[in-house]
Subunit: 262 residues, 2 copies
């Protein structure tokens, strides 16, 4: 789960297999887990008291929040970049996925600030309901299909706002090899690889439903699970410069795809 | 100096040019500097009161601390790996250079732990006096020359204990190109480049005095100057896993140089 030495429990989604009895489950911190394991190993009798106030509430309406720069040449063709709005409750979700939201918005802001007029429509999507079922991502792809939209790329940032390393794209190896000059362009800003891989959970429906290329921004992930879904996922652990470098690389990739296609 | 938004002054070495009068100088934090600049720009009169208790003390004796694994085949040929013991006084110098020390010691510990018997003697050196004049590094090279030692490599870690990116080596491009298979070996552990460059200030005298190849471990540096020489350079900002990945890569490079030469 984490290589940190803190005691922050990490929450997350839970699934039951109907072949087995449904027993209650709760996350505990790493130090507490080590302590309980040590007690059991010592042969001593251990007793744990847990009181949890968690309960299910009925579903409610949530919204994807969408902004766009209209394309000058192909306004009906789209490049989507996004992250997700929702987060688990132990903290504000600064890394999961506040940083992805900020970077996605920054792509549009930066392209607009330099006076770039995109050929295709570039859309930032702040997805709803990633953590709790992925319904925002699915809905976005379904609505795009219903509207007959053509999507070149769905790019997601949902791995924390850390220092850049790579992008993944759902392209075959020979197409990725042809993107080598792009990697050389990005390298001074920290991304040193575009590798084969999927998007994140919010843009993957675009591949299934729309046949779009999807991809992810892949920052250095060593610290991610120290914070992810825990009370440690707070604004103070985000480094401004690392966050900005991610946004720079994302804006550059979106620019290259808009200008040269995939 | 830093892209952080804290107000920690960064200390460091200071030099005077004898052609100009020697005026007192002191570091201030970034917020204080911004505030003073704003006051001056507003046209208001600004007054600053500084009281500093800094004063020069006479030199004293400090020691390089050295440990080694004796080589089985060429005990009189050496690979040196090191960092520096001294630090500036605002904090304990966890990143500058506690992490370099720990990683250097870890290289020896790890090679010993896996039962590796090096062909050459591998030496870890905890250098004295890097910050205050570099006399530990110079003395080490001079003593090695006086003893007639042959040194294959001087490798330094003095850029913080952050996630891996690269090594530098003082080799011509064609020799570096031949090391490409080593880069592929290191890549899963985070180092993705061996590039042309010097060592750090502690091993560079080995190049000048002994003609050794020198090099540096180059972690991701985005956060380094947020801490460097300031009261923020404390153990709490070191990430254990990032620190260990650096040590793994350093141990791997030392192993490869020991086994295959440079």
């Amino acid at each position: 789960m984490s290589s940190s030495v803190d005691n922050n429990p990490h929450t997350g989604a839970q699934n039951y297999n109907d072949s087995f009895p449904k027993i209650p489950a709760a996350a505990v911190g790493l130090r507490d887990a080590d302590h309980m394991a040590a007690v059991l190993e010592s042969g001593a009798k251990g007793r744990v008291y847990i009181r949890t106030l968690a309960h299910m509430l009925p579903d409610t309406v949530a919204h994807n929040v969408i902004g766009e720069l209209r394309g000058s040449e192909f306004p009906d063709q789209y490049i989507t970049v996004g992250g997700h709005l929702d987060s688990w409750d132990p903290a504000e979700g600064a890394m999961d996925d506040g940083t992805g939201l900020v970077q996605s918005i920054e792509v549009l802001r930066a392209l607009k600030a330099v006076g770039y007029h995109p050929r295709h429509t570039i859309r930032v999507v702040l997805f709803a309901n990633e953590e709790n079922g992925g319904r925002g991502g699915r809905k976005y792809a379904e609505a795009a299909k219903a509207a007959g939209e053509k999507h070149l790329l769905g790019l997601e940032s949902d791995n924390g706002g850390f220092t850049p390393r790579a992008f993944t794209l759902s392209l075959p190896e020979e197409k990725l090899a042809a993107l080598r000059p792009w990697v050389d362009l990005l390298r001074p800003y920290g991304v040193y690889e575009i590798e084969r891989g999927g998007g994140g959970s919010d843009v993957n429906p675009m591949q299934r439903v729309l046949g779009s290329v999807v991809g992810e921004y892949r920052p250095d992930s060593q610290r991610y699970f120290d914070y992810h879904h825990s009370r440690g996922d707070v604004l103070e652990v985000v480094n401004k410069r690392e966050l900005e470098l991610g946004a720079v690389n994302m804006a550059a990739l979106v620019y290259l795809v808009d200008k040269y296609g995939l």
